[in-house]
């Protein structure tokens, strides 16, 4: 296909991130590799020694793996809901950030279920889910929902990348390893940018963005029902599904903003991902934060006011500073109020502060999942007198720490490698954003003064 000048300009702008890696990138890359590799011994030990090496025991039989699972499925909402909705509404400013969002979705939807596998006692019997599958079980709902969601988000990401693959295939100026060209050719599936092809891709994108939104909602609802369907304090709640969905979009938006900040610095995209994006996403984050805070308030108020025995026992554990008090304060107050204040007050609002707020949101949402799972399991209906006293309270063992950290490293690594393969900014969508080199020089001087200020 023929490339017009604006596309070529854009390609010239983004090519360096595909062609070379800076020293900082190399250092980060190797750090990630080390963390990923560190996961393997832990994985082997857990596999051969059994789950005894984790902190999980008969009362707290689900630990940090489930927490990570919910967390990753949660942040996958970045692509599904944010980019899906923004695409449907045809919001112009979505274009530079849409691929970051969709990559978060795909990678975290792959990573999340891995944590479920880590939590399973008999991985060798995974096929039993198909052989003996029972549709009555929420786990089966989850398997179906997550698989569909993963396929859907991969299609969504791929459709949005076809045009870029074709551009990369046809641009002769790209100086990358020879092995990549056949791959670009393969993924471009003879896309020539004919009006018909363009229309088909566009239609596919529209359909997928419509499908992906209910799918995402279903995935997290079903996930919440794994807990909601049980008769346990703190879990057996009717608002759990919407609560989980809101918390997921909240954390997904947080991760999206953090990822935008990282790539903006890493690939020097200050003129493409601008204050506007941070501000708009910040406002979405603010609304979601308020919504999440409202759900949290409603949930704990009813449980506390109703003061059923076990619910109260659980709530006192959450309020007790010697138990989960600090985590609760961080997840329910700091993680909600801080982003709201930072974003709502124009004086505090800057790219860095919004990113900081988002980072706090992400941490708070991880802790929130932790205090959903662990305190409830430490509050069974019958007293814990059959467990050895050292098993009464859950604490992560080094195996669980390492696997958690290397999961994060896998997430970053996948993200990074994909951004080396395809430009992180969709070339086809945002070529108009890249100005001519001469023009760019002028505007750069202009914007330098009030940089990072909105």
């Amino acid at each position: 296909m023929k490339l017009d000048t604006s596309t070529v300009n854009a390609l010239k702008r983004y090519a360096p991130q595909l062609e070379t890696a800076s020293l900082l990138e190399k250092i980060l890359f190797w750090i990630m590799i080390i963390f990923v590799l560190a996961g393997f011994p832990a994985l082997f030990i857990q596999h051969f020694e059994g789950h005894y090496v984790t902190g999980m025991r008969d009362n707290v039989f689900w630990g940090v793996y489930i927490v990570n699972f919910i967390f990753y499925i949660g942040i996958s909402y970045a692509g599904a809901l944010i980019s899906g909705i923004l695409y449907l509404l045809n919001v112009e400013w979505r274009k530079p950030i849409i691929r970051i969002a969709e990559m978060i979705t795909v990678i975290s939807t792959i990573l999340g279920p891995i944590y479920i596998l880590l939590c399973m006692g008999r991985l060798d019997r995974l096929h039993h889910l198909v052989l003996y599958g029972r549709i009555q079980s929420p786990i089966t709902w989850d398997v179906i929902a997550i698989t569909t969601y993963l396929v859907g988000s991969i299609i969504f990401l791929y459709l949005a990348t076809i045009q870029d693959f074709a551009i990369l295939r046809d641009w002769k100026g790209l100086k990358v390893g020879k092995w990549r060209h056949p791959l670009y050719r393969f993924f471009a599936v003879s896309y020539q940018d004919t009006p018909r092809q363009r229309k088909l891709v566009h239609r596919g994108m529209t359909i997928m963005s419509i499908i992906i939104i209910p799918l995402a909602v279903i995935v997290h609802s079903v996930l919440s029902w794994i807990f909601g369907m049980t008769l346990r304090p703190g879990w057996h709640s009717t608002i759990f599904a919407p609560y989980f969905v809101v918390a997921a979009v909240f954390s997904g938006t947080g991760v999206l903003i953090v990822a935008m900040w990282v790539y903006r610095k890493l690939y020097k995209l200050e003129d493409i991902i601008t204050e506007k994006h941070f501000k708009y996403l910040g406002i979405i984050l603010l609304v979601l934060g308020a919504l999440y805070g409202y759900f949290t308030f409603a949930e704990y108020l009813t449980n506390w006011y109703g003061s059923e025995k076990w619910e109260l026992e659980l709530i006192y554990k959450l309020f007790d500073l010697s138990e989960f008090g600090w985590m609760f304060i961080f997840a329910a107050f700091v993680g909600v109020l801080l982003p709201i204040i930072i974003i709502a007050v124009p004086y505090f609002r800057s790219i860095n502060s919004i990113t900081f707020a988002s980072f706090v949101v992400v941490i708070a949402m991880w802790i929130k999942r932790y205090i959903i799972i662990i305190p409830t399991l430490e509050t069974p209906l019958l007293p814990m007198q059959e467990s050895r006293i050292e098993y009464i309270h859950y604490s992560m063992t080094w195996i669980e720490w390492i696997l958690t950290i290397s999961g994060l490293a896998v997430f970053c690594l996948f993200f990074y490698l994909y951004s080396k393969f395809v430009p992180i900014i969709p070339v086809s969508e945002s070529s108009s954003l890249v100005k001519n080199p001469e023009e760019e020089l002028e505007t750069n001087q202009d914007t330098h003064h009030d940089k990072d200020k909105i």
Partner: protein, 323 residues
Amino acid sequence: MKFKKTKKGTSRRGFLKNGLSIGIGAATTSGVFSSCSPNEKRESGEKVRVMTTDGKLVEIDASQVQESSQLVSNAEARKGDPNKEYVMVIDLAKCRNARKCIDVCQRMHNLPTEDEWIKVFYMKDGEDTAPYWFPKPCFHCNSPSCVNVCPVGATFKRLDGLVLIDNERCIGCKFCMAACPYSSRVFNWRENTRDDQVTDHHGAIESGTPQKVGTVGKCDFCPDMARMGKLPGCIDACPNGVLYYGDKNEDLVSNGTETVRFSELIYERAGYRYMEELGTRPSVYYLPPVNRSFDPEIGFKDLPDEIRKRYDISRSEIKKETR
């Protein structure tokens, strides 16, 4: 009980291999193996440890162990007897935390000491209410949450009311443990390290042995014993006759020494089911702790330190809650 004659030359390894279909001659305390005739066979010299039905470990010659016909097929074990409805009645007035039920259960099922299928809780419901000991097996609910949530049907409800686990099918997702509100289920966190493991396995699903690492286990009301016309291990083991077991259709329950009408017992002693409000409809009934045979404090006597500490922590927490 009929036993097949062992084929000549069956090695111990071979016998372990098809261990799922092994039964042993009912070894009574007097050491008479009723169904084998020792004269016919030569001693192999290899010793095997087996457990008698009353929970005693005995070491016998390998040649005396006989392969029984497979007691039940998996399909049959999943179905159960439609004419029976097993129930347990627990008399809280008689329990003094002797923990013999736990002990025998663990030995019968080759469980490590940290896994208790029947548990004894020290209960004190309110600030000024009387404490009591509360033995708790699996409730074998008639509306079992654990069975509903199992993604692979590894745990199932039988026609005779038992909720059992097929640990060859269990994938270890632990969802059933989350669903059970009574903490009845335990997970096999590691390979069984019990040093006095016995080698008799009566049939995979019904005997609950051997437990498999990475799967879930729980009290199974010993259906293998019922098939042999015997009471579950815990019933016989209890020195105070706390636990009664029987068939609700026959309307009889027995604690090993006395056999009583189930309906009369429940009526006269105002029997109830624990946490009826959860809607799980348990098969285990409790008789309230009135006119008690023991002072509950006796239960703390002679407890190993480790176990005593568990109760102490829990008791201090009860005090904290009811302040």
